[in-house]
Amino acid sequence: MASTSVMNSTDVVIQVSSDDVTYEIIGKMTSASLAVSMATRDTSTKDSAGWMEVLEGQKSWTLSGEGLVVYSNSGKATPDDLFTFVSNRSLVYIKFGSTTSTEIAYSGAGYFTEFSTDAGFEDNATFSFSFQGTSTLTQAAVA
């Protein structure tokens, strides 16, 4: 059973895998976001009395995140891994959520569609990315 207290956002991580077997947490992340949406079909007619009417449409989901740049981080996915995913146009398996058992997490596959890194001076070098899911996003308790 998932915790009854408000979840600590620090516990929510993004894991990536090339084979859906071995997953690595993306290291040094400072934020992680998941967005699920459903498009609608406009079914408004002359009979709608001026109100827009819709029916269900396609569902889609995206992930995004930000972090601090560290290229040598044992056991974690690093910014250069994310670049490689984009560069190779690799299908990537992904998990979003806590790694604590019984908590709810989301999993699916898709493509990294954007990777960027920012570096000013005398400041933290940071990275950010966007991920477009393909097909089903599954919601389930962490095993």
Partner: protein, 129 residues
């Protein structure tokens, strides 16, 4: 922790040690004591953390106040402090300094003590893990 770095650099940088001779104190200096002397204190710390740790880098804001009776000596010392600390990259007594930035300088004159005071604000980036 940053106090160790400041004390060490003042005592081991000839340009500073020649002027201050080890008279480098945390928080407060003795009234009526020998001059010039320097007082340092940490004014704030901001952590740069992630989901992996509470802090990878501490941003430590430090104020160093130089006190003396000769204005020109203090002006030279300000330049020496800047050249000693700004953009330093060194581990001192277990404190891993990634870099240091200069922020600002302000000056005061104490009529009663007939001393000048020059406050230098620096920002240190300390590597935590």
């Amino acid at each position: 922790m940053i106090g160790k770095v400041i004390k060490y650099k003042f005592d081991n940088t000839s340009a500073l040690n020649d002027v201050f001779g080890g008279r480098v104190y945390p928080i407060i200096g003795a009234q009526g004591g020998a001059t010039p002397f320097a007082v340092y204190d940490t004014t704030s710390i901001r952590t740069e953390g992630s989901k992996d740790a509470d802090s990878h880098i501490d941003i430590v804001n430090v104020s160093i106040t130089l006190v003396g009776t000769n204005y020109g000596t203090l002006q030279t010392a300000v330049d020496d402090v800047r050249s000693t600390f700004v953009r330093m990259e060194e581990t001192i007594l277990g404190v891993n300094v990634q870099t240091c930035m200069f922020d600002t300088v302000s000056e005061v004159y104490n009529v009663d003590e007939t001393t000048f005071g020059v406050e230098i604000d620096l920002n240190f980036r300390i590597i935590k893990n």
